[in-house]
């Protein structure tokens, strides 16, 4: 599959940016990522380049293992950067510690920090509230709130019943289902909930998933909502084809499932990087205290339409949606 936008904008990624030479000493930023450089880092860098703010970025990856973080922090202390940047909840907790248990010997406290890709900044204990970290850090989250997601589904295809299939043992999935339930009355729909079966050890199993999808379809759901559920994501191949066979469109809130869902509403990693850089700029250039910069998510999300699936389901997108959606085409 290939991601395209209107013909005028073909050639994604072919971006050549000239870095203007400036006399000013560059800001030194130390980046610690979870699995190497992503679009978030590219957006972060592009933001500074666009504004001619010189930065020197030192990048280290935890190589998918949070245990590698303490060694990287030794390097941070030696480098004495102007700002520390962390990617994802494990790396962020490893670098800055939980809000209620910061240890200056283990964590970075003397350098301002920005974090990104933390899905639940308060629930995971990174910050006490989104309004303020009350310490030397601020950051961004990539999670799309439930309301815009429901509105996106409604805009594409109005519905009265919404199916959801999730893993009962995943706290994150349970929290989202809880939030969606609250919207039933105000938005006028009914939630049809099914959870994956569990084995004797309480671990989810994929057996019977197709039957659960059938049940949801039989009850007349207009959409099947794919939550950011780790078990579902890794077993989507056993769920999505059955839903498609039953004419049930899927909706996803993560980029990972954009090929399986009919539409996805996601935070663009590039934009998220820019938003993170915007907060870094406030700290570095304008000298704002990180504690007084709120933790935010994007205001505008990317809507991705899976056109091959739309043809298969005979559910074409509303014409107006094409003017703001990104379209996946077979290719």
């Amino acid at each position: 599959m290939r991601l395209t936008r209107r013909a005028t904008l073909a050639g994604l990624g072919a971006v050549a940016l000239a870095r203007p030479a400036l006399a000013q000493t560059p800001f030194k930023i130390f980046q610690i990522t979870y699995r190497g450089e992503t679009d978030v880092e590219r957006g972060f860098r592009a933001y500074f380049e666009q504004r001619d703010i010189p930065v020197t970025i030192i990048h280290r990856s935890a190589e998918l293992d949070p245990a590698n973080v303490p060694a990287i922090l030794e390097e941070v202390r030696a480098e004495a950067p102007d700002l520390v940047y962390t990617w994802g909840t494990p790396v962020t907790l490893g670098t800055f510690g939980r809000a209620d248990s910061v240890d200056p010997d283990k964590h970075i406290t003397d350098r301002p920090g920005v974090f990104t890709m933390v899905s639940a900044p308060t629930r995971s204990g990174v910050v006490p509230s989104r309004a303020s970290s009350t310490r030397n850090i601020t950051g961004t989250s990539h999670v799309v709130p439930p309301e815009p997601q429901l509105r996106a589904m409604e805009a594409y295809r109005p519905f009265k019943k919404l199916g959801v299939l999730y893993t009962s043992t995943e706290p994150n999935a349970r929290a989202i289902v809880e939030a969606v339930r609250a919207f039933q009355a105000p938005m006028g729909f009914e939630l049809i909930e099914r959870t994956f079966r569990l084995d004797g050890d309480g671990k989810p199993i994929i057996d019977g998933a197709a039957d659960l999808v059938d049940e949801i379809a039989d009850e007349g759901a207009g959409w099947l909502y794919y939550l950011p559920d780790t078990f579902l994501s890794s077993n989507i191949g056993s769920v999505a084809p059955q839903a498609t066979a039953r004419g049930l469109p899927g909706f996803s809130a993560t980029e990972r499932l954009q090929g399986d869902a009919l539409i996805s509403l996601v935070s663009r990693y590039f934009s998220l990087g820019q938003l993170t850089a915007y907060k870094a700029e406030q700290i570095l250039v304008q000298g704002v205290a990180p504690a007084s910069i709120p933790i935010e998510t994007l205001q505008r999300f990317a809507l991705i339409i899976n056109m091959p699936l739309a043809k298969q389901l005979s559910l074409y997108p509303p014409l107006g949606m094409l003017s703001y959606a990104d379209v996946l085409t077979a290719g």
């Binding site: 994604l12 971006v15 957006g43 666009q50 935070s267 934009s271 938003l275 505008r300």
Partner: protein
């Protein structure tokens, strides 16, 4: 009498001329405003269309400066309509990155460059303005369209002023002549007939009293 007619003529003609020329100016301004509005709406549609594309590309990870495709889009839109003038895309600091007029690239976008300009902002996914699309109408092209209209309206106003002056002069002349007819001419010292008639009535009444007195005096 002659002085009065002259005074009236001298005060009323400038008034009529001023009113007619102001009316002509208003007529022109009204058409011009309508034309500008129509053209402005069109420029706005074009600006918004380009800005929407740039905005989507931005959220896909293409920084504004790297959107070479915009250059082609601007040229294409500019060629599609010669009257459109100049199309430019400026970054957040106001520096022009792309333009249908290559000479403008790299310069700073100044506030309204021409008589008519529409601007559409290009916003990031978190609400900051990353740049703007500026569509400015070509001043000469606009003037060319409207100059014909100016000539027509001005011509009509001149004709109206001249004819109006003639009409007022004729009217005043007529009034003067009619008055002259109605009134006594001082040279002959005869009184106007209407005045004379009224005096005769007084005379008749006084005559009656006099006769009465004479009759009684005799009796």
């Amino acid at each position: 009498m002659r002085a009065l007619t002259l005074t009236l003529f001298v005060t009323l003609i400038p008034l009529i001329a001023a009113a007619l020329f102001l009316g002509a100016a208003l007529n022109y301004a009204s058409v011009r405003a309508t034309y500008m509005e129509l053209t402005g709406e069109r420029l706005g549609t074009v600006a918004r269309r380009i800005a929407a594309d740039a905005q989507t590309a931005l959220s896909l990870g293409l920084p504004l400066r790297g959107q070479e495709a915009l250059d082609r889009a601007l040229l294409r839109e500019g060629e599609a309509d010669a009257r459109l003038g100049t199309l430019s895309v400026a970054d957040g600091t106001g520096r022009i990155l792309f333009s249908s007029d290559p000479a403008l690239v790299g310069t700073r976008a100044t506030a309204p460059a021409g008589p008519l300009e529409r601007v559409a902002p290009i916003q990031s996914a978190f609400g900051t303005t990353e740049g703007r699309v500026i569509v400015a109408a070509d001043a000469e092209a606009l003037d060319g369209v409207l100059s014909d209209l100016v000539d027509t309206i001005l011509g009509a106003a001149w004709v109206a002023v001249v004819l109006g002056a003639v009409a007022v002069a004729a009217g005043l002349g007529l009034a003067w002549w009619r008055l002259g007819q109605a009134l006594a001419t001082p040279k002959t010292a005869t009184l106007p007939p209407a005045f004379d008639d009224a005096l005769h009535k007084v005379d008749a009444a006084l005559d009656a009293v006099e006769r009465d007195l004479a009759a009684r005096g005799a009796g």
